[in-house]
């Protein structure tokens, strides 16, 4: 199939709790270009206004499961950035 021109792919990021407040959004779209894994996602977020408080060791979930820094990330994944947990 020939490639159809379309909008450039994005990674959709869900934000929660303190991180959502810091970045002023509960959902963000980052250009997928240059994002290969969880580490890349965190680097990109940390560069945003308010993002400096997101540590490099922050928990990230990919498709509802905690993912390691080098776990791959693609536009079809559900990616969530999780502040330190406080349930219970």
């Amino acid at each position: 199939m020939p490639a159809v021109p379309s909008a450039p792919p994005v990674i959709r990021i869900q934000l929660f709790a303190r991180y959502a407040e810091l970045l002023g959004a509960t959902q963000l779209e980052l250009p997928a270009n240059g994002i290969n894994n969880v580490r890349d996602v965190l680097e990109r977020l940390r560069a945003l206004p308010g993002g400096a408080a997101i540590g490099a060791a922050t928990l990230v979930a990919v498709n509802l499961r905690q993912a390691k820094p080098d776990a791959p990330v693609s536009p079809s994944d559900e990616v969530a950035v999780l502040p330190p947990l406080a349930g219970g």
């Binding site: 929660f16 979930a61 509802l64 999780l82 330190p84 947990l85 406080a86 349930g87 219970g88």
Partner: protein
């Protein structure tokens, strides 16, 4: 059963869910909203969650406990606004013997705290609001101008 609830929790409902004629021991745990945290008086708090993941992880933890011990587990965590003394989390574990029931109940609350994506925002008596992170409170906004 959904593990997250916007409505007040009732331990008795969880006890009924796990009780069975062959199970003689039920260990349960209830976490209540305390009136203080880190020495500061608390007025109330709000729990929020990454809900689909929280539901999935609660299910995983229960499955782990039920495969490791011969027990039945019920678990609910409250979301939304809570006042002092309200139930934040309730766990009931029924087993043939109390050893298993206690061990599995303890496992479930520890893993829940460690792995379930839930967050707590406390409101203090002075109007300050903070996100609580693993026992610490991270200052988010301060009301008024008198910051000591």
């Amino acid at each position: 059963m959904a593990y997250l609830s916007q409505r007040p929790l009732e331990l008795n409902e969880l006890l009924r869910a796990v009780a069975a004629p062959e199970r003689g021991g039920v260990s349960s745990f209830v976490g209540l909203v305390r009136d203080h945290h880190g020495g500061r008086p608390v007025r109330g708090l709000a729990y929020s969650a990454y809900e689909p993941m929280a539901e999935a992880v609660c299910g995983e933890i229960i499955a782990e406990a039920e495969s490791r011990w011969p027990v039945r587990v019920a678990l609910q965590h409250r979301l939304g606004e809570l006042t002092i003394g309200e139930v934040a989390v309730a766990i009931a574990v029924a087993g043939n013997h109390r050893d298993e029931a206690f061990a599995a109940c303890r496992y479930v609350i520890e893993e829940l705290k460690r792995r379930v994506p839930i967050w707590k925002r406390e409101t203090y008596a002075d109007g300050t609001v903070e996100w609580v992170e693993e026992g610490r409170a991270k200052s988010e906004e301060r009301s008024g101008s008198s910051v000591s």
